[in-house]
C-alpha cells in the first residue's frame, strides 16, 4: 500500500511535526508500506531525517498549498492520502489556512482515498483564549472548513466528544474516534529512584502563550514552594507561534527565582530525561484544543498529571483510563493544593504513575497505527470488490454475462 502523509515534519517545528514524525516512523517500519511524507518547506535548507522519503511541497501561509499538494499526489499516485491536521496547519492567516484545508476534498475529488486525522474542532476552541479578533468570522469559516474536511473519505478525531459533534452537528459520516497514542512502541517502566531527588520536579510542557499560560502556574508554584521549599518548577517548551516572546518575558520576570527553570525548545532526544525525573506534570490550560499530546507523553513515562478541569480532558481521562487530578480552572489555590496533596503522598504518586503507564501500554503507537491501517485496508478491499458486487446485480436474463464481465472488469482476471 502506498501512503502519502501530509503533515508538518521535522526538522520543521510547526504544529504536529512530532506527531507526524511518529506516525511516519511507525508506517516506515511496515515493509509492505511505501510512505512518502508531503511536508512543509523549511525556512532554510536543513538535512532531512534519514530513512524517510520526504517531499517538501507546501509552505506555511501560502495560498497555493492545495494545488501544489495535488500535483505531488498526482505524481506519486498513492492508495491513501493521509492528512495530519490542525485548522492552523497550513497557516495562521485565515485565507491561506482555509485554502490549505481544501486539499483533502480536492484530493478525494481526484480519486484518491483521503483520510484526515483532525486534532481539534473549531467548535471546541475558545477563540478568545487563542487571541482571535473576529471570533464570529472565524466560527463561520471554521464551520465551512469543517464541512470541507468532512468531504474526505474518512476522518479520525481524538476525542469521542468531537466525533459526537461531527455526527450530530455536521451530520458527518465515516468519522472514527482513535486514541492519540503515546508516540512510542515500547515504553519503559518508570524509574522511581530518579524522582524526588533533591526535591520534587514539577514539569510543565507545551507551546506557551495562547490558552496555555504560565501566570497561574507560577502563582500556584509560589504557594507550593512555601510548603515545600525544595520543589522545582521546570517549564519546558517554546512560544506558541501566535505569541512570540511570551516565554522570554515570563523568564525575565523570574530570573531571580532559582526554583524555576526554563528549558526552551526540547529536542526529541531530551524528552525522556525531562519526563523521567519529573514527579508530576501540570497542564495549566484555560481551555483545550483537543486530546492532549503532553498528557500522553506523561503517560508514556508514567508521570502523574494535574490538569485544569476542562470537559475535554475529563472525557479523555475517562475514555483512556488516565490518572489525572483536576483543579478548578483558573484557580491557583486549587492547583497549589492539588500539587501539595500529590507531592506529599508518595503512595498516590506511585498509584497514579502506574495507572498512567498501564494506560500507555494499551495505546502504543503501533497499536494506534494498526487501527488506521486496518481501516485503509478495509477500504481497499471494499473498493476492489465493488465492481464485482455491481456485476452480481445483473438480472439472470441478461445475455452474454461472460462478455459483459470481460468488458467491465478485465483487471480481475490476469489469466484471461
Amino acid at each position: 500500500m502506498k501512503i502519502c502523509l501530509v503533515t508538518a515534519f521535522p526538522p520543521s517545528r510547526r504544529g504536529l511535526n512530532e506527531y507526524g514524525y511518529h506516525i511516519a516512523r511507525e508506517l516506515q517500519r511496515d515493509p509492505l508500506l511505501s510512505l512518502t511524507v508531503l511536508a512543509d518547506e523549511l525556512p532554510s535548507a536543513e538535512p532531512e531525517l534519514d530513512e524517510f522519503d520526504v517531499v517538501r511541497c507546501w509552505s506555511f501561509n501560502q495560498l497555493k498549498n492545495s494545488s501544489r499538494l495535488l500535483k505531488c499526489i498526482r505524481d506519486i499516485r498513492p492508495d491513501v492520502v493521509w492528512f495530519n491536521l490542525l485548522f492552523s496547519t497550513f497557516g495562521d492567516q485565515p485565507i491561506p489556512a482555509f485554502a490549505g484545508l481544501m486539499a483533502p476534498v480536492l484530493s478525494r475529488m481526484t480519486g484518491h482515498y483521503t483520510h484526515v486525522t483532525l486534532h481539534h474542532l473549531m467548535d471546541n476552541i475558545n477563540l478568545k483564549d487563542a487571541g482571535i479578533r473576529f471570533p464570529r468570522v472565524y466560527r463561520a469559516a471554521g464551520y465551512t472548513a469543517t464541512r470541507m474536511l468532512l468531504m474526505a473519505n474518512s476522518i479520525s478525531v481524538l476525542l469521542p466528544a468531537y466525533r459526537r459533534t461531527l455526527m450530530e452537528r455536521y451530520r458527518g459520516e465515516n468519522i472514527h474516534f482513535r486514541a492519540h497514542g503515546i508516540l512510542s512502541a515500547r515504553p519503559e517502566p518508570p524509574n522511581y529512584n530518579l524522582r524526588g531527588v533533591n526535591g520534587h520536579r514539577i514539569l510543565a510542557f507545551g507551546k506557551w502563550g495562547t490558552y496555555k499560560r504560565l501566570e497561574l502556574l507560577i502563582e500556584a508554584f509560589r504557594l507550593v514552594a512555601k510548603k515545600m521549599p525544595t520543589a522545582r518548577l521546570v517549564i519546558a517548551g517554546s512560544n506558541h507561534p501566535m505569541t512570540p516572546g511570551y516565554v522570554e518575558s515570563v523568564a525575565a520576570q523570574l530570573k531571580n527565582c532559582p526554583n524555576v527553570e526554563f528549558t526552551g525548545y526540547v529536542a526529541e532526544e531530551q524528552i525522556p530525561g525531562l519526563f523521567r525525573s519529573a514527579s508530576v506534570m501540570v497542564m495549566p490550560y484555560s481551555s483545550a484544543t483537543g486530546s492532549s499530546g503532553v498528557a500522553h507523553l506523561a503517560c508514556e513515562y508514567g508521570v502523574p498529571i494535574v490538569s485544569a478541569d476542562i470537559d475535554d480532558f475529563r472525557e479523555m481521562a475517562e475514555d483512556e483510563g488516565l490518572a489525572i487530578l483536576f483543579y478548578g480552572t483558573g484557580d491557583p489555590q486549587s492547583l497549589a493544593s492539588r500539587l501539595i496533596d500529590l507531592l506529599q503522598n508518595s503512595e498516590l504518586q506511585r498509584e497514579m504513575s502506574e495507572q498512567n503507564f498501564s494506560s500507555a501500554l494499551r495505546m502504543t503507537m503501533p497499536q494506534i497505527i494498526r487501527q488506521y491501517l486496518r481501516s485503509f485496508d478495509l477500504h481497499k478491499r471494499a473498493k476492489a470488490l465493488e465492481p464485482i458486487s455491481r456485476f452480481r446485480r445483473l438480472p439472470a436474463w441478461v445475455p452474454s454475462r461472460s462478455a459483459i464481465f470481460r468488458a467491465a472488469a478485465p483487471r480481475w482476471s490476469p489469466w484471461m
Binding site: Q371, S402, A409
Partner: protein
C-alpha cells in the same frame, strides 16, 4: 445363490450427521454419480441385482439420486420409527420371494466391500447374521442375514442395527472405507476418487489429464480448469472462473464469472455467484460448509449462492422478471418515482447483520469485524 440387498438411507445415530442440507450424503453426487448408484453398481458387479431402497427423506428429494432407480428396484420412503419397520418389511418381502441371503447396507459409510468374500465368510461361519466392521472393529452398519432368520432380522431392525439377537463373528474389512459422517468426509471421498484411492472414477470425458467434463458441460474459453477437477453434466463455467486443486462441480451447476473454486465441491443444481473465492468448502442448497473452520453458513443472498431450478422454470422466471422490470421502469418513468436503490457494498457493510443484529462497523471504532471481508489472492494483486 439368490442374494438380495436392502439399502437403508437414513437412520443416522447422531442428529445432523451423514447429511448435507437435510439430504443424506448417500443420495448426493460424487464425481458425477450418486453414491447410492455407485453402491448399486458394485452390488450388481458381484451378482446382487435385486435391491430395495428405504429412505427417510421425502419423495421430493428422490430425483436428486436420478439414475439410481432401475427396473425391478423397490423404493420406499418412511420417516421416524416407520423407517425401521419399512426396512424389516423389505427384508420380509425378499425372504418370502425365495431369497437365501439378504444384505443390509446402511448409507452411512461408503465401503468398497468384496461382497463375494463377505457372503462366503457368512456361509463358512454358519452364522445367522454376519456383521461387517472396519479394521479397528467399528461396525459399518452392513450385515448379511440368512433369509430364513426372520426373528434375528426383526430384532436387528428393531434395535436400529445396533444389537443382534445372537452374537456372531464380525467380518473385518480392510479395504477402502469412508464413514461419510460430515462434509469433510464427503470432500475426502471426491479427492480419493480423483487419486484412485477409492474406486469412484469421474463420470465424464477426460479432456486433458486430470480434467473431466460431463455431458453438455459448457466451459467458457476464458475459464481455467486445473487438474484434477471435474465438471458435471449440463454445468456452466463462465468467463474467468477458475477451478483448481481437486474441485468438483456437479451436474446442472453454474459457476459465474470470475469465481475461483479451490479444493471445494459444488453440489448439484447450485449457482455460485460472480467474483467469489470458494476455498476448502462444500457449497450447495444455499449453504456453505467450510472445512477448515468447520462451520456451516446459510447464505440468504441469492446473488452469492442459489439453487437452480429446472430449465423451463428458469426460463419462465427470467421472462417474468424481465417483463416486471420493463413494466416497473415504464411506470416509474410515467409517475416520476425513483426505484428503491440497492445499497452499495460499503453501505451494506454498515447495515446490521441479520443474524447478529449488529452492524459490521462497531460503534466506537468504525471498523469491521476482522476477517469478514476478504479479497482474493488472485486477480490484479
Amino acid at each position: 445363490m439368490d442374494v438380495k440387498a436392502v439399502i437403508l438411507i437414513g437412520g443416522a445415530r447422531n442428529e445432523g450427521t451423514e447429511q448435507l442440507g437435510g439430504i443424506p450424503i448417500g443420495l448426493l453426487d460424487v464425481l458425477g454419480r450418486p453414491i447410492l448408484e455407485r453402491v448399486l453398481d458394485r452390488l450388481e458387479k458381484f451378482g446382487i441385482s435385486g435391491a430395495a431402497v428405504v429412505t427417510e427423506i421425502p419423495a421430493s428429494s428422490v430425483p436428486l439420486a436420478r439414475g439410481s432407480i432401475r427396473p425391478g428396484m423397490q423404493w420406499s420412503e418412511a420417516q421416524g420409527s416407520q423407517f425401521w419397520r419399512a426396512a424389516e418389511s423389505a427384508f420380509n418381502d425378499f425372504a418370502q420371494g425365495g431369497s437365501e441371503l439378504v444384505l443390509v447396507v446402511r448409507l452411512g459409510a461408503y465401503a468398497e466391500l468384496d461382497y463375494e468374500d463377505l457372503v462366503q465368510f457368512h456361509l463358512d461361519a454358519g452364522c445367522r447374521v454376519t456383521r461387517v466392521s472396519d479394521g479397528a472393529g467399528i461396525p459399518l452398519d452392513t450385515f448379511v442375514i440368512s433369509a430364513s432368520r426372520r426373528n434375528d432380522a426383526a430384532y436387528l431392525f428393531r434395535h436400529e442395527l445396533q444389537e443382534m439377537r445372537v452374537p456372531c463373528d464380525d467380518y473385518r474389512f480392510a479395504g477402502y472405507i469412508n464413514h461419510l459422517r460430515d462434509p469433510k468426509d464427503f470432500r475426502v471421498l471426491a479427492l480419493d476418487g480423483f487419486a484412485g484411492i477409492a474406486n469412484l472414477p469421474p463420470c465424464g470425458k477426460q479432456i486433458k489429464p486430470g480434467v473431466w467434463l460431463g455431458e453438455n458441460a459448457r466451459i467458457h474459453r476464458n475459464a481455467r480448469l486445473l487438474a484434477p477437477c471435474f465438471v458435471g453434466a449440463n454445468s456452466n463455467v463462465r468467463a474467468a472462473a477458475l477451478l483448481t486443486r481437486g474441485s468438483v462441480v456437479e451436474h446442472h451447476t453454474e459457476v459465474d464469472c470470475g469465481t475461483v473454486v479451490e479444493n471445494s465441491s459444488i453440489l448439484q443444481t447450485t449457482k455460485v455467484g460472480a467474483g467469489l473465492d470458494v476455498t476448502h468448502s462444500v457449497v450447495g442448497f444455499q449453504k456453505i460448509w467450510n472445512l477448515r473452520r468447520a462451520v456451516e453458513v446459510e447464505i440468504e443472498d441469492r446473488q452469492l449462492v442459489s439453487t437452480l431450478r429446472s430449465a423451463p422454470v428458469r426460463m419462465l422466471n427470467n421472462a417474468a422478471e424481465m417483463a416486471l422490470m420493463f413494466t416497473r421502469t415504464m411506470a416509474q418513468t410515467l409517475l416520476g418515482r425513483k426505484s428503491a436503490r440497492t445499497p452499495e457494498l460499503r453501505e451494506a457493510l454498515c447495515q446490521p447483520a441479520a443474524a447478529l443484529k449488529t452492524s459490521e462497523h462497531t460503534r466506537e471504532e468504525g471498523l469491521p469485524a476482522g476477517d469478514l471481508l476478504s479479497v482474493r489472492r488472485y486477480g490484479n494483486e
